[in-house]
């Protein structure tokens, strides 16, 4: 390959860097003042949970987004990547999480996509280069096969090959192992090392801790948009896998500010069991993880925390509890009554409430006024509807009461809910779930995306709800929140409950224990009481 021959003179400055980069989207800071340097010859792992800012960073490097603040540098020189083309021309190729190939074209056609239209397809040259790549990196691709008929692993190889044919200097692999079998991931890991050795800077984005250790030379951990820590190559080499994972867990889930220990809520749990889940399983598919063998019991007045890295089956569990997602097997018992087959509406009537994490897309209808949104789960029910005819005055009155009780900031109840801020929408939804006879409330990431003040009030309300004797299932990716509020914490990983721990206020030790379960270790393996 020609690429590695003309390596930049100032290799120490890194091939490409981001400096003080910040990117904001409405309501969130996706990337917050992040500085990173990527070196040739290294596999640089960007590790973080969903929403930690990894994808935004990839977007910035691949020219899809531009930073609001800060800048990029190429071989030590300040630069701007204003478009995907600019990024490609700068020698940066990205293999995205979802295939960017045209499934109906052949492998060869996909490889030469983007070449100038007036050129004859350089069939012989591509074939020769592919031969080279096969020898060097073990990329074996049938040039005339239809892309869509190949396995996902092979399709990924095409994208890598395409990057190499472009003589890229930087190769970004965004969650590249998520679609692969363990064996395929292993192969990819080895290939990445190979590519790095040949002089490329490989940037590998993942949320899997063990992969980061096994395939990476350098690890940077992102947390809520900011850089939470870094392990440089020498340090990483000297660590055992266990030790490295411990360090990473500390970076990912540790407390950023020590000193102020969040007050642990006084438990208000009673003996009576309100909700019992036995061996619950849901159907999974290519896009959605299924949950399996989940057993939980929630007592009155208890807050059961559900911890886990986002996307490990928490949402599916919540939906299965609410009746939105059918259970394949297992039982859900509410107050002694089997409600496994009950519909959403029946469960709601019996007092099982679910506050979704997706306030805009699922929880509310943005175009409808606040008043209608407060009764969307009671359509057709008295007193708001009589014989199917709407009683607008009663709905408006109900909405005004709710607005006052939950101090929702809105011009009035006829304002479309989509115009309110996230925190105020959340208040409306909370009010909706608590109206009537609620017994068990499932919260899914109730404080996600809220500002500090709203986070505080939301947490207080959750504590109050438990004190009133309701059962609470609190799903959250924020360990601080769980440790401040929960009586017990169940940890989910890969659709299973890895363990349930008593929140005994043992602080840091407990935090790390939970962190390791979140990384996929079973409670038993941890060999703690």
């Amino acid at each position: 390959m020609e690429t590695q021959t003309d390596l930049p003179p100032k290799a120490a400055a890194g091939l490409i860097g981001v400096h003080g980069v910040t990117k904001r989207f409405p309501g969130v800071i996706a990337v917050n003042n992040v500085s990173l340097t990527f070196h040739p010859g290294e596999v640089h792992v960007l590790l973080g949970e969903n929403g930690a800012g990894k994808s935004t960073l990839v977007g910035i490097l691949s020219g899809i987004q531009e930073p609001d603040e800060g800048h990029l540098s190429l071989v030590g020189k300040k630069t701007r990547l204003a478009s995907p083309l600019a990024s490609l021309e700068a020698g940066i190729s990205t293999v995205f999480q979802h295939s960017m190939l045209v499934p109906t074209l052949t492998v060869f056609e996909n490889l030469i996509l983007g070449a100038p239209w007036y050129d004859r397809p350089p069939r012989a040259r591509v074939a020769a280069r592919m031969e080279e790549l096969k020898r060097e990196f073990g990329l074996s691709l049938p040039l005339d096969a239809i892309t869509g008929e190949l396995s996902l692993g092979q399709q990924q190889q095409i994208e890598i090959a395409r990057a190499l044919l472009r003589d890229s200097k930087v190769l970004i692999l965004d969650e590249a192992t998520s679609m692969l079998t363990p064996q395929g991931a292993q192969e990819l890991g080895e290939r990445m090392q190979h590519l790095a050795k040949s002089g490329l800077a490989v940037i590998f984005i993942t949320h899997k801790l063990s992969e980061a250790y096994r395939y990476g030379n350098r690890i940077s951990v992102l947390k809520q948009g900011a850089l939470a820590g870094e392990i440089d190559p020498d340090e990483l080499r000297s660590m055992s896998e266990d030790r490295a994972i411990e360090v990473i867990v500390r970076m990912m889930f540790g407390r950023e500010t020590d000193g102020t220990s969040t007050e642990h809520r006084q438990s208000s749990a009673r003996d009576e069991t309100l909700l019992e889940v036995q061996d619950l399983a849901t159907q999974g598919d290519a896009d959605v993880l299924g949950v399996e063998g989940v057993s939980l019991a929630i007592r009155a007045g208890e807050i059961l925390g559900v911890a886990g890295i986002d996307g490990n089956g928490q949402k599916q569990l919540a939906e299965a509890l609410a009746g939105q997602r059918p259970a394949m097997s297992g039982r859900v018992v509410l107050g002694g009554e089997d409600i496994t087959q009950a519909s959403v509406a029946q469960r709601r009537l019996r007092g099982l409430r679910y506050l979704t994490d997706d306030r805009l897309e699922e929880g509310s209808v943005g175009a409808f006024p606040v008043s209608e949104n407060t009764v969307l789960k009671d359509i057709g029910q008295p007193p708001y509807w009589v014989n199917g005819i709407e009683r607008p005055n009663r709905i408006a009155q109900h909405a005004r009461d709710l607005i006052q009780k939950f101090s929702v900031k809105t011009p009035n109840e006829t304002t479309p809910i989509g115009r309110l801020s996230g925190g105020n929408i959340q208040k409306v939804l909370l009010g909706r779930e608590l109206s009537g006879e609620a017994r068990v409330v499932v919260f899914n990431k109730p404080t996600y995306g809220l500002d500090l003040q709203n986070i505080d009030t939301s947490r207080q309300r959750i504590a109050e709800i438990a004190e009133r004797g309701l059962g609470v299932v609190l799903i959250s990716t924020d360990l601080d929140e769980l440790m401040a509020l929960s009586d017990r914490i169940a940890v989910m990983e890969g659709g299973r409950v890895r363990g349930i721990v008593q929140n005994d206020g043992s602080g840091e030790a407990l935090r790390l224990r939970i962190g390791r379960m979140m990384a996929g270790e079973d409670e038993q393996e941890l060999a703690t009481a």
Partner: protein, 369 residues
């Protein structure tokens, strides 16, 4: 990945309402918006058509004058205008349901024609067997059922497979139009005539006329249909369920609604009203269906319903003017030796101007943000 329509009528509604920010500004901008998206384009379309008329050497004022005189200021013309409104109103009802529930039923023409053909084939046979009102009732019910049946395939595909209904309803519409014509020529053909057409319902057995005029009472039923549908969609629990499915299917699922079943219901109702529309035209005015008869009212009504923002009363007003235009321009064209199809030019100008109005509105809205 979810199958989402690129454009969702419910979302369109949403975008509408999220424009204005404060009380004071709302009043003015609402007025301005009506100017840009409704009144403005209509005026612009007439001006544009006037220019075209002048280019072909016709005085546009005379032409427009004839239209008004013929359709609104003469008794016969006004009666014709009112009669023409009936099927269009039923189609408005059909589209209001569909569009408000987020379903693009573009297959109303097929549903209309099949409803018409079945009503035309059945009603004359029942005359004498059943009392007059029952004959009409059977005709209407049958038309509604046939229309609804013709929407089952797109409905199932949409509800359970997420297949885009724009394509499927349109394709079924072509099939429906051809099937209707085939039925007229083969199964339902009146053996006593040489031209292929269905048996004719005697004038006395058709929908009664209003008072001493020639206006079909279908007009009244059409008005009732549009208003009933409007109230159903805005004031009842069922209507809110349908609108919720249209505006945000995920939220509807979350609230425990069965999105597939409600989607099926939307299709059935919408297509049923399209079938009724066919029946009013036959049982009220025409009396029979000739082979290859296809007035294509369904596609005609779509821009009107849009223009009215899916509002019942607004649709009625626009249908009135549109009918007047149809009736008036026929004779205006004849008298001024402008081709009869000039109406289409006018309609085309209207659509182009509406599109432009919408575009300008979007631009303004973006600037305001």
């Amino acid at each position: 990945m979810n199958m989402k329509n690129d454009v969702n009528p419910g979302a369109l509604d949403a975008a509408d309402q999220s424009t204005d920010n404060d009380g004071v500004i709302t009043e003015r901008s609402a007025f301005q918006r009506i100017l840009t998206v409704t009144v403005g384009p209509i005026i612009a379309a007439f001006v544009l058509s006037a220019i075209i008329l002048m280019l072909v050497g016709v005085n546009p004022l005379t032409y427009y004058g004839y239209i008004l005189e013929r359709s609104l200021f003469s008794e016969l013309g006004l009666e014709q205008t009112a009669t023409r409104m009936a099927p269009l109103l039923f189609l408005c009802a059909s589209l209001i349901i569909a569009f408000r529930a987020g379903i693009w039923n573009l297959g109303t023409d097929g549903q209309f024609l099949l409803g018409a053909v079945f009503a035309a084939a059945t009603a004359p046979l029942l005359v004498g067997v059943l009392p007059g009102w029952a004959v009409l009732l059977v005709g209407f019910v049958l038309a509604a059922v046939v229309g609804a049946v013709w929407s089952i395939i797109p409905a199932l595909l949409k509800a359970y497979q997420g297949v885009n209904e724009i394509v499927t309803t349109l394709m079924m519409s072509f099939l429906g139009v051809l099937l209707a014509s085939t039925l007229v020529k083969l199964a339902f053909r009146d053996p006593s005539t040489t031209v292929p057409q269905t048996r004719t319902l005697p004038v006395d057995d058709r929908l009664p006329r209003l008072f001493d005029t020639s206006i079909s009472s279908g007009l009244i039923w059409g008005l009732i249909a549009v208003l009933a549908v409007h109230l159903m969609m805005t004031r009842t629990a069922f209507g809110l369920r349908l609108r919720m499915v249209g505006a945000n299917p995920a939220a509807a699922t979350h609230a425990g609604l069965s999105v597939p079943l409600l989607t099926m219901a939307t299709f059935a109702l919408s297509a049923g009203f399209a079938g009724l529309s066919g029946a009013t035209e036959i049982l009220g005015v025409a009396g029979n269906v000739r082979a290859n008869w296809n007035p294509a009212y369904g596609l005609m009504v779509i821009p009107l319903v849009f223009l009215a923002r899916f509002h019942g009363v607004g649709s009625i007003v626009l249908v009135f003017f549109y009918s007047a235009l149809l009736i008036g321009s026929e004779s205006a064209a004849r008298r001024l030796s402008v081709p009869q199809d000039f109406t289409l030019v006018l309609v085309a100008c209207l659509l182009i101007c509406l599109g432009l109005g919408e575009y300008i509105d979007q631009r303004k809205r973006k600037k305001e943000r």
